[in-house]
Subunit: 339 residues, 2 copies
């Protein structure tokens, strides 16, 4: 199925040196996809000119005159840099010229611009950011990851509904299970917002299995774990920090002396297989949900493989009509559920 993705080629730690090869790789493997590369002409056009003939009209270029910096305040990104590559990519979605936008730029700016340009869907108070994490059993989608720090119970319910539709659409899983992140399995535990969210989820018609705890995420107890953006951001970054520390310790122990270095060579196939299984690049691409358009945020430090995954995720969401699914579901919702 044909789909057009607008790529902010300037975002992320590495900019065009990562995003351009990723676009080429993506177009080579997805023959029905089109890409509009967005960026500063002097940085992107030369590369575009080189590969243009290979992809014909499947590849287009759209100029932008500015770039949102990783440290730019949101207000600058939103109100001053109105011709940034990030903004132009999202404008293309708004205008219907692309079905999805991908950026590795500043998350706060991306969410603010997406919200301002695309607007939220009816029935959605706040868009959320969802990502997928590897687990003992497969994958778990976790949201929100930082867009919403002070949540009301109905926001957590809306996150769960959006994630339900995301997982159904992208993983082709019927009625995915939903867990509410809490500090104990009993209904009486947790803070007030979470307790009330639990009540709403029970009435929601979703496949809600109740409270889950932090360790349930990596056990893979449920397909979806819902939490507020503060908690989600902390758990994601804590996980990144722990994984990095364990990786460092493992490398240190395998290079402590010549015997260990030889052991590392012997162990290389196992160590590489392990590394591959937990490679965060494989799960790159967080979905901004609840907007009138598809926007995928790539990790800022993504390399070519990781950025390609984010583009693929955007294409998958667009082809599976994620926005329409969320829109239709919210239109069907009873007033109590949507608030």
């Amino acid at each position: 199925m044909e789909v057009t993705i607008a790529i902010d080629c300037m975002g992320g730690d590495f900019g065009p040196s990562v995003t351009l090869p990723a676009v080429v790789h993506f177009l080579q493997h997805d023959k029905q996809a089109r890409v509009i590369m967005v960026g500063l002409p002097e940085k992107v056009e030369p590369a575009f000119a080189k590969v243009r003939s290979r992809f014909g009209e499947r590849l287009a270029f759209q100029a932008a005159s500015e770039v949102v910096g990783m440290d730019d305040p949101i207000a600058t990104a939103l109100r001053v840099k109105k011709d940034s590559s990030m903004r132009v990519a999202i404008d293309l979605v708004k205008e219907g010229r692309a079905q999805a936008a991908v950026s590795a730029g500043n998350t706060g700016a991306l969410m603010a611009i997406s919200r301002f340009v695309l607007k939220t869907l009816p029935g959605i108070d706040r868009p959320a950011i969802a990502t997928v994490l590897p687990t003992l059993r497969g994958y778990t989608y976790v949201l929100d990851l930082g867009a919403n720090v002070d949540c009301e119970p109905q926001h957590l319910l809306q996150f769960a509904i959006m994630a339900d539709l995301l997982v159904s659409a992208v993983e082709h899983k019927d009625r995915p299970t939903v867990g509410l992140l809490n500090i104990g399995e009993e209904d009486i535990k947790g803070n007030e917002v979470v307790k009330q969210a639990g009540e709403l989820l029970k009435e929601s018609g979703l496949h809600f299995v109740g409270n889950v705890e932090g360790d349930d995420i990596y056990k893979g107890t449920t397909d979806i774990v819902v939490c507020d953006g503060f908690v989600g951001n902390v758990l994601l970054k804590t996980s990144e920090g722990l994984a990095r520390m364990l990786g460092t310790f493992l490398r240190e122990e395998f290079s402590r002396n010549p015997f260990r270095k030889i052991a590392a060579l012997v162990a290389l196939p196992a160590l590489n297989a392990f590394k591959g299984r937990v490679d965060p690049r494989r799960y790159n691409g967080a979905s901004l949900l609840g907007l009138r358009g598809i926007v995928v945020k790539s990790h800022g430090s993504a390399d070519q493989m990781a950025f390609t995954k984010a583009i693929e995720r955007a294409a998958e969401e667009a082809r599976n009509r994620l926005v329409e699914r969320i829109s239709e579901r919210m239109a069907r919702s009873t007033p109590e559920v949507v608030q």
Copy 2:
């Protein structure tokens, strides 16, 4: 320095089969320590009778007629089981017969009984639970871990003050650094409670370095990381879950086929060294802070080595007069700080 520790020998997943050998090990290595073993006579006295002669009056036994179950509601533990081993151990601290209590039982019950029997120190609104985690640079103390789910800014400040005194006392570190767990380094980020807590911490006289993020915990950016109990509980359990998943994947990859199994033998010294560095048993023992007595909570699944660590932590806190330090510090605090 002499110190007497009351041990709830019945708590945890394994009860006396773990706690009794841990007591023996502890007394063998700490010649100035005394222990009062608390438990059901039929379960504890036979073992006590066997080792009594080795430790003379350094080892005593105190009978209890009940045990708090891991699933007992807090109300039952507090109001019904008034002669539980957990309760009797804490009563011994209250009566001054022991300087600290250690239990591997139900955390909620332990906190509720400790609070009821010992009371909180003046100036402390809520006791907190602190644990130590391994980092790239050494150790970081994190609190609160679940005692307080809906915190006010002044509670986070009190947690920071108590942790400052804990780290000074136990790690002998002068003016340990304090980080406030947030979702960005900028002052403007985070939820309202955290923003206000940041203001209080700036004025506190503590060595406050500002906001830290989830990945800073395992980087070891600060000696102390302060957060509310909901977030702390989630990040601790998420870490446990992730570490377990990574351990499982590593084992699976090293046993996937005969070649990998041979590689595992060659890699064993490195793998064991790695395992030892991140062995959670080495960090077992969470401190209940802010009470008029020292209480240490062992992980429920602790084995003998882990439980011994928890007893050692209790002895260390008692010898370094942790309760007196917190009490003196709160008495000195200006009314604005204590609120």
